[in-house]
């Protein structure tokens, strides 16, 4: 047998340069682990509780600077080493991280009380100045970089570092300040960032998180060891290896050959192969991503509300979820997902009713309309197949004909993100991830008049969102958002499709539950 476990090999062969071994606890081990299984050895440091774990994603990071990217994969890789003030639990709830307490001040700003005795991986203590600098580096183009995350923390006027606390002064009242900080805002050490250039910062880490990067092979593999001084206590993983394969079949093969423990984005057609194996199973969770078909309100025939509603009646979403997605999806009827703030439980999804669809098309005055649905290729789980099914169902109406146009994502997104609504596609498939778990973070950019990706202009909806953004009463805010969701359902600027599931393949050697925000937290895995 020649089979060789990548993780064991990496440790064994890089032991002289990677680990350093300043405490002797984990730096010089692992070299004899050549038995070919990544998940069942891992006892190299003499700690029987710890084990090795490997994660294979679809794509690697785009550099290790946690504030200079806007990608989920990069977030997962940097997020093992860096942390924010707050975090999320498995179902999206807000939990403590580097801040132990948070509150609104009398003037509507927010104040974070920092955790004591937190240190960066280089041994230096975390300070309030580091936190303040990190926030400024994200939101202020003048501080270090132009961060693609500059909108992710809201519009911030000032950040004040105090004694063990940091106060963030927003421009106006920000009702979702804590949701934003629970998802964004990784903290870096000011002196470390200022002493190093971007090239270095993108290939090295110095965070406070549970893992320390020991090897960084750009675009190929990142190897971590546990942070022995982690404020959260002992990390059960002895060594973490994160790699990627763009081919989904290769990811599945790696899992079935026991070369990795967690794989992401198992396509529906591969699910049974994993489930029928003796070595791994499927673990899925509803994600924070919604999939829909956008219709531009200002062009015929989509200018008619009846026509837009007809499109919703024409598409059999339940059937698409069952047949295209193997059941990995939940039907939606509003822009806000069930787990998110502002979800309206009284709204039912549009039922599949082609007769009603034909009637509404007649009523709209656009009988005989010829429309084209544009879809990205390979961007979302089963996107082309979903679009094909939807277009075919619309086309089967007696009074509408629908064609499908497949487009490369970066080309389609060029048109979607253009500032002018006149330049946007008339009818296209899109997905939207709402990592803040708040309805406003979907409705504002996608449905309000000034939204960056909007296809709708409706004063009533704009006003509801404006009121939701300005009220300081959380319950009242939820009511405004629920009302906005009802209005969005009725106006139907989208064909509401489904909530996408994150589908993982997980080795039987470990027990691990996925998170709904798509972040992977191997430190919560346990050995079976």
């Amino acid at each position: 047998m020649l089979t060789y476990a990548g993780t064991a090999a990496a440790v064994g062969l890089a032991g002289c340069s990677g680990n350093g071994g300043d405490d002797g606890s984990s730096g010089d081990d692992g070299s004899s682990d050549d038995d070919g299984s990544s998940g069942d050895d891992g006892s190299g440091n003499g700690d029987d509780e710890r084990f090795e774990i490997g994660v294979t994603m679809g794509q690697m990071d785009s550099g290790l600077d946690p504030q200079d990217h806007a990608e989920t994969n990069t977030e997962i890789i940097t997020g093992q080493a860096y942390e924010g003030l707050m975090d999320r639990d498995k179902v999206g709830g807000i939990v403590e991280s580097l801040a132990t307490d948070w509150e609104r001040t009398d003037d509507g700003n927010v104040r974070f009380t920092l955790r004591e005795d937190v240190s960066f991986h280089n041994g230096d203590a975390l300070t309030a100045e580091d936190v303040a600098y990190s926030i400024r580096r994200i939101v202020d183009d003048e501080v270090g970089i132009v961060s693609p995350q500059s909108n992710d923390l809201g519009v911030i006027d000032e950040v004040i570092a105090g004694d063990g606390e940091v106060t963030v002064d927003f421009e106006g009242f920000n009702p979702i300040a804590f949701q934003l900080f629970a998802t964004n805002g990784e903290v870096m050490q000011q002196s470390w960032v200022e002493e190093n250039d971007g090239n270095y910062i993108n290939q090295n880490t110095n965070g406070t998180g549970p893992f320390v990067v020991t090897e960084y092979d750009s675009g190929n593999e990142v190897v971590y060891e546990p942070n022995d001084d982690y404020w959260g206590g002992d990390v059960p993983v002895d060594e973490l290896t994160m790699g990627a394969s763009s081919e989904s079949s290769t990811r599945v093969n790696r899992l079935l050959a026991e070369e990795t423990d967690i794989i992401t984005n198992v396509p529906p057609q591969e699910v049974s192969r994993v489930e029928e194996s003796d070595v791994a199973g499927i673990s899925s969770v509803p994600s924070a991503r919604i999939i829909f078909l956008q219709m531009r309100y200002d062009v015929e025939p989509f200018s008619s509300q009846q026509f837009r509603q007809a499109m919703n009646y024409a598409v059999d979403v339940e059937s698409i979820i069952e047949n295209v997605l193997n059941g990995f999806g939940t039907i939606t009827g509003q822009p806000t997902l069930e787990e998110h703030v502002g979800y309206n439980p009284d709204i039912d999804p549009y039922p599949y009713d082609p007769d009603e669809a034909e009637r509404l098309v007649e009523e709209s005055g656009f009988a005989g309309a010829e429309i084209t649905l544009e879809t990205p290729i390979g961007r979302y789980l089963g996107d082309v197949e979903i679009a094909q099914a939807a277009a075919s169902q619309i086309d089967s109406l007696s009074n509408v004909s629908c064609e499908l146009e497949q487009r490369e994502f970066s080309s389609l997104v060029q048109d979607i993100t253009t500032g002018n609504i006149e330049d946007k596609p008339h009818f296209n498939l899109l997905g939207w991830g709402n990592a803040e778990f708040d309805g406003s973070q979907t409705i504002t950019p996608l449905m309000t008049s000034n939204g960056a990706l909007t296809v709708l202009e409706n004063e009533e909806l704009d006003e509801l969102i404006r009121q939701a953004e300005n009220t300081e009463d959380a319950d009242e805010r939820v009511e405004f958002l629920q009302e906005a969701n009802q209005l969005a359902h009725d106006l139907a600027p989208w064909v509401f499709l489904h909530q996408q599931f994150s589908v993982y393949g997980v080795s039987n050697d470990i027990s691990w539950e996925p998170r709904s925000d798509e972040f992977i937290d191997p430190d919560t895995a346990t050995r079976q």
Partner: protein, 330 residues
Amino acid sequence: MSFGRFVLKRSLQGLGVVWGVVTVVFALRFVTPGSPINAVAPLDASPETRQAIATELGLDQPLYIQYGQYLFKLLQGDMGFSYIRGQEVVGLVFGRLPATVELALAASIVAIALSIPLGVLSATRRNEPIDYGATLLSLGGISTPNFWLGIMLILVFAVEFNVFNTSGRGVDVGDVALSLVGSEPFFGTLLAWLAYITLPAIALGTYFMALITRLTRSGMLDELSKGYVQAARAKGLPQTLIRYKHALRNTLIPVITVLGLQLGTLIGGAVITEAVFSWPGLGTLVIESINRRDWPVLQGSLIVIGTSFVLVNVLVDTVYAYLDPQVVND
């Protein structure tokens, strides 16, 4: 024309081709849909953020200035900075080059080790079962897509029988060399390296193997029918000597030419094989860069691939001219 002038002329022509590659690759950025800003900025980024990113990346400069700056830096060995990865392109590209060269060489070794003996056997035992077998194998090799072959090899030898690794490059040839002097066991490291490289090398080398088998077979048949072979036979030289010392040697001249050219093709053409096996070479870097619209890295990768190809061609021409002076005069 002297040999020196010939080499100089070929080198200048090669430089011209490289310049052409640089220019075409640079121009591609502006005719391909999809702005690099979309790869950096989130979907809902404000116009101000997009403009700030464009300014930071120098994308708001006129085209000729961007081109001039790029050429000037390239001459100094600076391939630019990846705005997606925040890293120097030179480091990224040359960090991946060894993996691709290693795979290309391994594929060549697999191909040569199988194809030349098979080609000779096929020619010397014409119309016998071994000839039919070799012909069938080479036809299969030429007509099998390497991505399909790669997937099948993984399913059978890695997933089903667990003999090789499915993908990745956990150990490289440098590690094997280091194990000769370091503390790692040499044999274990060698086996580990073979576990990673064998399947991608077979997948990539199969087409090449089939091609060389056919070339060797036809070359040998041609040589064996020539007068000097008949003369050698008439002199009573042993068959082995005639076949392997005289006929094969002459057959290998065009085979070596094709080998050289194919090595360049392998470096550039390993893209699909690298993707199937998650091999961290230039091919996967090219795919990642296209997906992310990481133009500086894509340009750097294509320039290195193009330059490798040109370099191999110039070297082959030079060797050919050295072996056959008539080429210089032609």
